[in-house]
Symmetry: C2
Subunit: 318 residues, 2 copies
């Protein structure tokens, strides 16, 4: 029965969170899933509006993603990029030819006055995605990484151009004070039975979403239980700069660190079975195999989280 499925909202960045969103899309009827995506990485490049996390989500949910990279489109060509190099451009940000079409279409719609929420909906529909994809806000927000070696860097400059090698002193989200939750996102949070903080980087991917004014309050005010899934597996990050950041900041590379980071917001935490862990006070704890390589892995982890959430919901939220 469709009515047995909860309304699920998951917050994601670009890598682990998207894989779990994919698992949820495989597990749930599409109308039951809303994916809220970080837009702090978005930037203007060659005059195009590029939304890396949104695009990884679009390409993954539509089955187009290049699984080897975890971003971009499988089998894409780079004719434009190769030509750009001959024109003297340093082409530090890879744009495939099919991928370029996404940026061109989005930028055209942007200049026509559509919100990013509307654009994400149009792109998702064109790619046959039936689950709802919502940017964390339609307001412009830019994640700025304050580095020891190179000063303030826009996120993609830090992440792609410098391959997340500079030492991060702090992270801020420019424009966040003026950002607003979209009406669509407010409604999705109100209707949610389960809210999941995906296994993406807490500081770089999930925190920008949580920093949109009203977001934490909306999650707390929701009837939904909030569950985080660990981005730490076997004492390391599966991908990207999470472990490097935690080491630089003197944080223990264990799931409790992530749970503590989300304390006050989450009701439960899913740690990986590879890590020894102890539940912190006040947070329900589950250990499971959270690695998500194949579609079967993703579906399995999604079901673990959904089943656990169903147990939660038998008791009213405290």
């Amino acid at each position: 029965m469709v009515s047995d499925y909860p309304n699920v909202v998951i917050l994601v960045g670009g890598s682990g969170g998207v894989k779990l969103a994919h698992g949820l899309a495989l597990a749930l009827p599409p109308e039951k899933l809303t994916v809220v995506v970080n837009t702090g990485d978005d930037f203007w490049h060659y005059g195009l509006r590029i939304c890396p996390d949104l695009d990884t989500l679009l390409y993954t949910l539509s089955g187009q993603v290049n699984r080897e990279h975890g971003w971009g489109i499988s089998g894409d060509t780079t004719v434009a990029l190769n030509t750009l190099r001959t024109l003297g451009d340093d082409t530090w940000f890879t744009l495939g030819d099919r991928d370029l079409a996404t940026h061109l279409r989005r930028t055209q719609l942007w200049h026509e006055g559509h919100t990013l929420t509307q654009i994400a909906g149009m792109l998702g529909a064109a790619l046959g995605i039936e689950s709802r994809i919502l940017p964390m806000t339609d307001s412009p927000v830019a994640t700025i990484v304050e580095t020891a070696e190179l000063g303030d860097l826009p996120f993609q400059t830090y992440f792609v151009r410098h391959r997340w090698q500079p030492t991060v002193r702090a992270v801020r989200y420019d424009g966040i004070e003026a950002a607003r939750l979209s009406p669509e996102l407010v409604a999705a949070l109100q209707d949610a039975n389960v809210i999941i903080l995906g296994p993406s980087n807490p500081w770089l991917s999930i925190d920008p979403i949580l920093a949109v004014p009203g977001m934490r309050e909306a999650i707390r005010a929701s009837r939904a239980h909030c569950i985080a899934v660990t981005p730490i597996v076997g004492g390391d990050a599966v991908k990207g700069p999470t472990a490097r950041l935690m080491r630089d900041w003197g944080l223990a590379l264990e799931p409790q660190t992530i749970a503590d980071h989300y304390a006050g917001l989450i009701d439960g935490f899913v740690a990986d079975q590879r890590d020894e862990s102890t539940a912190p006070d006040g947070i329900a704890w589950l250990t499971a195999d959270t690695m998500m390589t194949t579609d079967e892995d993703r579906l399995r982890v999604a079901r673990v989280v959904l089943d656990w959430a169903a147990d939660f919901s038998r008791a009213p939220r405290t």
Copy 2:
């Protein structure tokens, strides 16, 4: 001896004028040739700054142009464009993947604060073009075609989207009052020995250039003789809407009509031998085979014009 070559400035749009510019590039040492290109067709599309006439010139002078079309790059692919169509875009303006690189690079340089004159120089250098290419102005100017059926249309909407089929009532150049000649263009006109109005559409391609404030005065003040080459061959236009415009406006489809249009500015006019023609008062007249299909044709026509200009320059300008 290099010093035997005159300093030549040619004004061009996107088709016939570019072919003659190509012939001149084959005939002259590169430092002797300056090509001034119409920018009234330039527009924003998908967030990119697209300069159709400049690009046809760049691709032609670098030997890359698709000769069948007369625009775009030979052998270019359309992966991005085909994908755009699947995303719901109507893709009325063709952008090849290699061609896209030009627009991406130009737009990036534009947003970095370079003038279009600087950008044209950088793109030309990257493509190995040694002759100087100068936009008619660095100010934004938009050719607007006032049509009977569809009202005011930006040039590319008229020309490409509607395949120049609407009836043209008038043409105007939005922003022209505020446009300025670049210092580079002022210097080129001052140094010129010969100024050629290329065989492009007078109203749509050459007139926008002549309408930049100070352009006509600079041509008249120059020591150079000014020669126009006919876009009418055999009682018709070689390509594009010139003949259609002239018929709609009740103008005779003969070279004299074009010469009359440029009266007061030109010293000489090169008509095609296929047309019967009579020199108007006060304009020197030459007939020749002006069709330019092959490189040899283009070189031949360039030499006809240069040889005639050399005869002119034996007498001081009146």
